[in-house]
Symmetry: C2
Subunit: 411 residues, 2 copies
């Protein structure tokens, strides 16, 4: 059985062909959801899936389901997939790999004339990136009840165009109901978007879950003054407070095991003039950890530090939680199916956590779900320079195919 | 003699009349050098000075000298004055007070029929603020040999208009040579632009000198990365480095006596996105201290801290000195003349240092010079909200008048 492998060259060629729609001059892809470029990518996928013998169904939010029939048509399907939309200046692999790996698995099963009891569905979820309509994972969120169909269709972009009207325009407002039926399990293969696998020299990560994430916005209010004339002891320097907060907040990461990731990525200083003491600084803290409670404890430490600094320095302080999601643990059997497949194929692997959001995190709400990570070059993603090696994509696809087969019941 | 006082109401009225030219909707003044508004202000000063019996001379960079004759026409003049130009959104007092106080002193001497041996010159120096032609103190710098006449006239604004052509346009390219003759002494009265006198409840500061100042631009280079996926131990976070540097650099102020003033007023983060680890941060350090060598020692400490942090965190570092001026000590006799005048008038006073730049600092290169500070509301300056009390302006004018008389030799 372990000689059942995908066709690495065909998989790579599919990526190359798909990267044409929205190709950027620097070698990346800009393909926002429900644009003409997204329609072209969807059309090509549908054509390929039909050629591979799949039955196509499209639901009311434009999610595409390409089914390889099982011997038991009544069985709940095993699903795999990801998304075809990208960031405005994104790469050729984020999302696309998860769709094309599913397609390649079906093609390889066809080549080997291998069959299974439960149906296998390859899914293209609508608008995972969230770069156009204000929130991500629109398709998988609607499918799992996170947002109603009506709410989803009413979401609008910066030009006032709605998801509903854009689905109609590109011909992907499908007749099928959105979710509401049993799914056996969902597997998503994805580039890691980080450097852990590459640094470890491994091709496969069995994803245990997704980190909890909390974003804070910290506003520090002091008093503007002349840099040359206001003595240090009379100052209320918002930047002085912000610097101590950021310095100490970053260090909170090392107080917990395993380390959370803590990032101050955005800082805004007012008036931001060389010879004026800053009167206000606003900065964000993006914090993530596999365990929701550990993240909350780290958050409490960070808030306490900001409060202590503002009190000591006599500065105004406002802390707003701009976003939060709990951690998600993937299904233990799905995680084990990934490890088992890698072991059977002789591919060294490690357990890993997802720091980013994915459709699989939404699917985990309603069915057993798991993910497979493969390395990407220098861990770079959401960037035109995003890159991956054909052999790593093939390894991920092989593991996916064997996990799907195990779950779908090879006959 | 100490019953010789200025006319406080006339002094205040002069400020009100002068604030018309370039008046802003919020009650401030925007009167850039060599604009039509500057010409209107100059014209009014010249009219008033002539009405007060002064002889007007204008030099090649547009400095205006209004002379009250002394009994010895051959004696080197005692000078006082400041500037009539303002910041783009400046106030009614910065610079203007120093000119109008000189005028009011002459008017009060006329009223009392008081005479002196040496001539007293009221000076309007051209373009102190430096908001238009790229550098400040153009007139006093040219007068004291800091920049040649030709270099000064060739300086251009953002529209390519030169100092020379704008002087011609507004009619203030005068025939007199620029400097090169003996000046007995120079006194400048100015609002403090800081809160020290107001907090001390005093009306007069005898200015001992001007602080040395050094401005650094620090560039920290790390590596961008995904906030959710790059482990803390693998990061090169430019903001993490910047925060530690700024936090520790601010604290350097408290390692020296008296404290230098250290200000990080400008911070620029790239890409400045919430969920991306910053790849580059640029910030400025504005540092000032009365003693040049102490400031240099503080600077060496700050540079060492930045180097230590960049080494420890594995970040790139570039430090550029963007500007420096040595400290200036005013003439001990001029400082004492200010103290003596205040004592004679029964006005409590304190010694103080100037944190900002002033024309008097340039004059100190070529003649005995001193300054008098009066409080301004909340220490606010370079701001439309700049304000001062009529009684404080009058106190400063009285001290100026008596210091001028002492130096000019009352007869």
């Amino acid at each position: 059985m372990t000689d059942l492998r995908c066709n690495s060259q065909r998989l790579w060629n599919a990526h190359t062909a798909m990267a044409v729609f929205g190709a950027t001059p620097s070698g990346g892809v800009g393909r926002l959801a429900l644009t003409d470029e997204d329609r072209q990518a969807r059309d090509l996928f549908v054509t390929w899936a039909r050629e591979a013998g799949c039955e196509i169904r499209i639901d009311g939010v434009g999610n595409i389901f390409a089914r390889r029939a099982g011997t038991n048509p009544a069985a709940a399907p095993v699903m795999t997939g990801s998304h075809l939309d990208t960031q405005p200046l994104g790469g050729r692999f984020d999302g696309i790999f998860g769709v094309l790996a599913g397609l390649e698995a079906v093609r390889a099963l066809n080549d080997a004339d291998v069959h299974h009891e439960k149906p296998i569905d390859i899914v293209c979820w609508t608008d995972e990136e969230g770069s156009r309509f204000g929130d991500g994972c629109l398709g998988s969120s609607a499918f799992t009840g996170g947002r109603t169909l009506a709410e989803t269709l009413a979401m609008t972009d910066a030009d006032g165009l709605s998801v509903g009207s854009e689905l109609q325009r590109i011909g992907y407002a499908g007749p099928e109901p959105v979710g509401g039926y049993a799914v056996d399990s969902f597997f998503e293969v994805h580039i890691e978007q980080g450097p852990i696998l590459e640094n470890a020299g491994l091709q496969i990560g069995a994803v245990e879950g997704a980190q909890a994430a909390t974003v804070y916005e910290i506003t520090i209010t002091g008093e503007e003054g002349h840099a040359g004339t206001l003595p240090m002891t009379l100052r209320k320097d918002a930047m002085r407070g912000a610097a101590e907060m950021i310095h100490r907040v970053d260090d909170v990461a090392f107080e917990f095991e395993p380390y959370p990731v803590i990032t101050v990525g955005h800082v805004r200083v007012r008036p931001n003039s060389r010879n004026t003491i800053p009167g206000q600084v606003v900065f964000t803290i993006d914090s993530r950890h596999p365990d929701t409670e550990t993240l909350a404890a780290a958050g409490a430490r960070m808030v306490a530090i900001c409060e202590e600094v503002s009190n000591t320095q006599g500065l105004g302080l406002s802390i707003n939680v701009k976003g939060h999601r709990d951690s998600v643990a993937f299904d233990t059997q799905c995680i084990q199916a990934v490890r088992d497949a890698a072991n059977a194929l002789g591919i060294p692997h490690m357990d890993i956590y997802s720091g980013a959001g994915h459709d699989a995190i939404y699917l985990a709400r309603t069915c057993p779900a798991g993910m497979i990570f493969v390395p990407c070059e220098d861990g770079i993603s959401h960037n035109e320079a995003e890159n991956a090696r054909p052999e790593d994509l093939a390894a991920g696809t092989d593991v996916l195919m064997h996990a799907l087969l195990a779950r779908a019941g090879r006959v």
